[in-house]
Amino acid sequence: NMLSAQHFGDPGKMKDYHYTGPVEHKFSPYAYNGGTVLAVAGDDFAIVASDTRLSEGYSIHSRDSPKCYKLTDTTVLGCSGFHGDCLTLTKIIEARLKMYKHSNNKTMTSGAIAAMLSTILYSRRFFPYYVYNIIGGLDEEGKGAVYSFDPVGSYQRDTYKAGGSASAMLQPLLDNQIGFKNMEGVEHVPLTKDKAIQLVKDVFISAAERDVYTGDALRVCVITKEGINEQTIPLRKD
């Protein structure tokens, strides 16, 4: 075998390495802005709650950036993840809601909005919206409904769901308190609106204690047939 003279040119001396081919710079269009969203459905009400902290890395960009977006008189969308995609997604949804209203002369129902959001998210299957969505509202019969999504549009109807940075902390707590999981000999009392609101507040206070991306304030939207009532409660600012 003929061995290249280059390799045996100067033994002991480091050879300069010049790479002359194309270089791939990683295209990284996403950022993680934190935030937690929660939704609970009752017999005749629904609650959508989110914290209001907007962070990135070690910084907090804003302490007043709620993640609940009112879509109709009976539906609220909570989205957390990458704030840029949240804004674009809500803009598209609001435009589609108006188009539906103009074509069909009626407001979209919660179930219809959920099905539509699934296809909007899936249209970006190969370049996803980095958003964790939860829709809370009233269905056509006036009962509470919660729909939870993954970033590419898989969804289902739930009774309660937590999403976002503290979701893994909150979901087990909700499973226990609302779903009565892992408890024996407990009477399954249906959840009243006031108890649900108090539970949501308590649960977010716990989340703010242990999750760095959750805190500052809590925005709670309570949806009943009378309309949507919003409250803001302070949380830990550290």
Partner: protein
């Protein structure tokens, strides 16, 4: 497009495989012409879509997790087809749902199961349901199971290599009798008597194969389906929740049961101790 050529996309080949009515992928999806017949998908510009999400999550970047994981099974026997699925949806290591519905009721005589990526299965099987309905309206007769599974298979082939993850079984009863087809994201389409898909499929096969006979009674078949899923959830970390079971009969499917796997496994253990 110049960008397509530079990025090495084999757009030529794709145009030859795709039927002419399907629009190829663009860099931005059009959200506002929702009366259109063609679905458009956005792709990240200049990068290979199937590797794009992985490259985002490396080096401390963001992790976008999609819902995954399952055990599903279906088998034909004398009295029809039994379809049994678990109900766990996991995204990464987090269980995002314990009661996820993995059977799509396409119409009263066709069922589709979901395994792999939840969003992919849900979207394409919903699209399949739409096509089946259109077929019924245009041809005044129900679509056959073979044709329905072929439609899904061709949808998968149109996006082959782009990172979809679908492992689905199409079950139904048509003029040829009970039908069971397995379709996956590579375009594999197989007709058979017994299939199991998902991360827990090998465990389910073991239990199903040891208990299967063509002349099972209906009760025995229900029991076999439950046992196979329950034992698979016991050993597979990504399966769990409840067993959702359907029975496909001549005049349509019926939903048989929705049983918690922990209770089933507890019952099986007690039976073993009694014997």
């Amino acid at each position: 497009m110049a960008l397509f050529d530079v990025s090495g996309f084999n757009s030529d080949l794709r145009a030859r495989i795709l039927p002419s009515t399907q629009v190829p992928v663009l860099d931005r999806a059009n959200n506002y012409n929702f009366g259109s017949k063609f679905q458009e998908f956005a792709v990240p510009p200049g990068v290979d879509p199937s590797g794009f999400l992985e490259s985002c999550s490396s080096d401390g970047g963001v992790r976008i997790e999609m819902d995954h994981g399952t055990t599903t099974l279906a088998f034909k026997f004398r009295h029809g087809v039994i379809v049994a699925v678990d109900s766990r949806a996991s995204s990464g290591r987090y269980i995002s749902s314990t009661y996820y519905d993995k059977v799509i009721e396409i119409n009263p005589y066709l069922l589709g199961t979901m395994s792999g990526s939840a969003a992919d299965c849900m979207y394409w099987e919903r699209l399949l349901a739409k096509e089946c309905r259109l077929y019924r309206l245009r041809n005044n007769q129900r679509i056959s199971v073979a044709a329905a599974s072929k439609l899904l298979c061709n949808m998968m082939l149109g996006y082959r290599g782009m990172g979809l993850s679908v492992g689905s079984m199409i079950c139904g009863w048509d003029k040829e009798g009970p039908g069971l087809y397995y379709v996956d994201e590579n375009g594999t389409r197989l007709s058979g008597r017994m299939f199991s898909t998902g991360s827990g499929n090998s465990y389910a096969y073991g239990v199903m194969d040891s208990g299967y006979r063509e002349d099972l009674t209906v009760e025995e078949a229900y029991d076999l389906g439950c046992r196979a899923i329950a034992h698979a959830t016991h050993r597979d970390a990504y399966s769990g929740g409840v067993v959702n079971m359907y029975h496909m009969q001549k005049d349509g499917w019926i939903k048989v049961c929705k049983q918690d796997v922990s209770e089933l496994l507890h019952r099986y253990r007690k039976e073993k101790l009694r014997v």
